[in-house]
């Protein structure tokens, strides 16, 4: 897509307009997330519930069920979009997604192990804590496998190695599950969902996601410099090894905390940067904030959709994002092929 803006200032104004539009969409999707649910609560009741200190059931549902759910959707969507954009920029590959660095799979494994050992039944936050422990171990292994090299290839290989191994161990855990019900419980969790998360989940994951986002948000310029390859970025004054460390740790903090709380939610981190890249003129640094906002919009919208599509028995969010994401990805591939012809 060719940017029509004639001057640099015009381009920046265009980017600001994109960000403003996305921000409005985030606010709308957030509001929708507060409004939609099995319990019918209208807009006036919702506003009343948020801003009055009353403790009736409607207020309880808005403040303790839907608000944490919406906040988590916002944070997880934003971090998925942000880390997806950062990884695609670093690897200079539009197929990269946050799961690539092995953190999703190891966080899933950590969480699944708390199911398997029964730890998740002992205290409520064992599950997300297990997920975070898994993510930490995963990122340490990926970093030591990738070594001191700054090349994307070693990072991809290390990520694939850790992802495959963690996936195998997750399958092993499912395999050894004491009964089909336990296996089913694990399977359902792995599908990813925001349903019935509480503020404890928000408090637990928010610090990690914020820290990770801050790390990733500083990567704009080095990612821009990488547009021309590693040597060019290097001679433009950027330390690529430090860049990779910040990227991997930032993604690990974001995605690890997210997966630990909600299970794996795929395709958001892959597709959002994809859609928004032409809109921001392909500049990796401009893509970071846009993808964060876009990821939040998509995740919140998808989470509203699971509640609308099958009221009562909700679809899992991760299932919906994959259902929508995979065909969309196919469409992107076809469009890309047309461009190449």
């Amino acid at each position: 897509m060719v940017s029509a803006a004639a001057s640099g200032t015009g381009k920046r104004a265009g980017e600001r307009a994109v960000l403003a539009t996305l921000a409005v969409a985030v606010v709308l999707a957030f509001a929708a997330s507060l409004l939609v649910g099995p319990a019918a609560i209208g807009l006036p009741e919702m506003l009343h519930a948020i801003f009055s200190g009353q403790a009736d059931i409607a207020a309880l549902i808005i403040r303790e069920v839907r608000l944490p759910r919406a906040i988590l959707g916002l944070m997880i969507g934003a971090t998925l979009g942000l880390s997806g954009a950062a990884l695609q920029g670093f690897l200079r590959n539009p197929l990269a997604e946050p799961g690539l660095v092995g953190v999703s799979a190891s966080a899933s494994l950590g969480a699944v192990l708390t199911f398997y050992t029964g730890l998740s039944g002992l205290f409520a936050l064992a599950l997300p804590l297990g997920g975070m422990a898994g993510a930490c171990i995963g990122v340490v292994i990926v970093q030591s496998l990738a070594g001191r090299d700054s090349s994307p290839l070693t990072l991809i290989l290390a990520g694939i190695a850790v992802t495959s191994f963690a996936g195998a161990l997750t399958s092993l855990t499912l395999n050894l599950a004491p009964n089909p019900f336990a296996a089913l419980e694990i399977m359902f969790w792995l599908m990813g969902s925001l349903a019935d998360r509480s503020f404890e989940h928000v408090w637990l994951s928010a610090p990690f996601m914020i820290a990770g986002s801050l790390l990733l948000a500083t990567l704009g310029r080095p990612l821009d410099a990488l547009t021309l390859g590693e040597d060019a970025a290097h001679t433009l004054g950027f330390n690529l090894r430090a860049l990779r460390h910040r990227l991997v740790f930032g993604t690990a903090l974001c995605v690890g905390a997210g997966v630990a709380v909600t299970g794996a939610i795929g395709f958001v981190g892959l597709i959002v940067p994809h859609i928004l890249r032409p809109v921001v003129g392909h500049r990796p640094s401009a893509l970071l904030p846009a993808s964060a906002l876009g990821g939040a919009v998509l995740t919140l919208a998808a989470d509203v959709a699971v509640r609308l599509l099958s009221p009562g028995r909700e679809l899992k969010l991760g299932v919906l994002t994959a259902l929508v994401g995979a065909p969309f990805f196919l469409y992107l591939v076809l469009r890309l092929r047309k461009q190449l012809l």
């Binding site: 547009t227 021309l228 004054g237």
Partner: protein
């Protein structure tokens, strides 16, 4: 004034020594042509001078300071490196790509300053690419792309430009354009090191040639000296026609010959 000095530099790629005890100096205002057969280590030397490769031995100094003591950003402000090929991975606009050259100079918290914009504008005009500044950098012909990448390097206002085969794959017209830009840069006081294979073009535009062969500079000096029949036979293994037109040396390779007797010892 000496801009860069390589002193007894040794570099290995993996376990294989590529440069051994190499010396080279670049002065301000000169264009130095780095020539030599394939695999002689021209790109390795250029990358070492850009600070991209660790040295096994020896030292490279930029403006009198050892390379490894200069922080990245200061070094990035002093020198620009133009890698061979150099595709844009994203479909950013040409102007955005050229603006990358300003990164070492830019305020970390703000958008491009007036100075940045002026430098980009100047580079766009100098490289004759202002008319397609909004075109995606992935949709350029070879000649356009080379000029865009050169403009990116020029936008940083470098004191030293290290260009790796900037004219490879260009038609004669664009070759002349690019070499003329390098001359202009040198004319403005910068030092330029340019890797090339076209000996006649090198002789036409370079103040000095350095012929890399057998891990060190085998011959260095004016084109007439470096491109002597014996040196060409010894280093390239060729016999060439030597002539001149309008005061410029012309070298046309004619046939392959066996390497001269000095080959093994040097």
């Amino acid at each position: 004034m000496t801009l860069m000095r390589a002193n007894a530099v040794s570099v290995s790629l993996g376990d294989a020594p590529v440069l051994a005890g190499l010396d080279l100096e670049i002065a301000a205002g000169e264009v130095v042509g780095l020539i030599g057969p394939n695999g002689a280590g021209k790109t390795t030397l250029l990358r070492a001078m850009a600070g991209l490769l660790p040295l096994d031995d020896g030292e490279i100094c930029v403006q009198g300071r050892p390379l490894h003591r200069i922080d990245r950003v200061s070094l990035a402000r002093m020198l620009a490196y133009l890698p061979q090929g150099g595709d844009s991975h994203w479909a950013v606009s040409v102007e955005t790509l050229v603006m990358l050259g300003r990164l070492p100079h830019r305020d970390p918290w703000h958008g491009p300053s007036e100075t940045d914009r002026a430098a980009v504008e100047q580079a766009l005009v100098a490289c004759d690419i202002a008319q397609f500044r909004d075109r995606p950098a992935t949709h350029l012909s070879g000649g356009e792309r080379t000029r865009v990448l050169l403009a990116r390097a020029l936008a940083g206002d470098p004191g030293l430009l290290l260009a790796d085969e900037p004219v490879a794959g260009l038609d004669p017209g664009h070759q002349l354009d690019v070499m003329a830009k390098l001359r202009d840069l040198a004319g403005a006081g910068a030092g330029v090191v340019v890797v090339m294979h076209d000996l006649t073009l090198a002789a036409r535009f370079c103040d000095r040639l350095a012929l890399l062969h057998d891990k060190r500079i085998a011959a260095e000096g004016s084109p007439e000296i470096v491109l002597s029949p014996s040196t060409l036979a010894r280093c390239y293994g060729i016999r060439a026609y030597h002539g001149s037109a309008e005061g410029n040396a012309i070298v046309v390779p004619l046939e392959r010959v066996k390497p001269g007797p000095g080959h093994a010892s040097t």
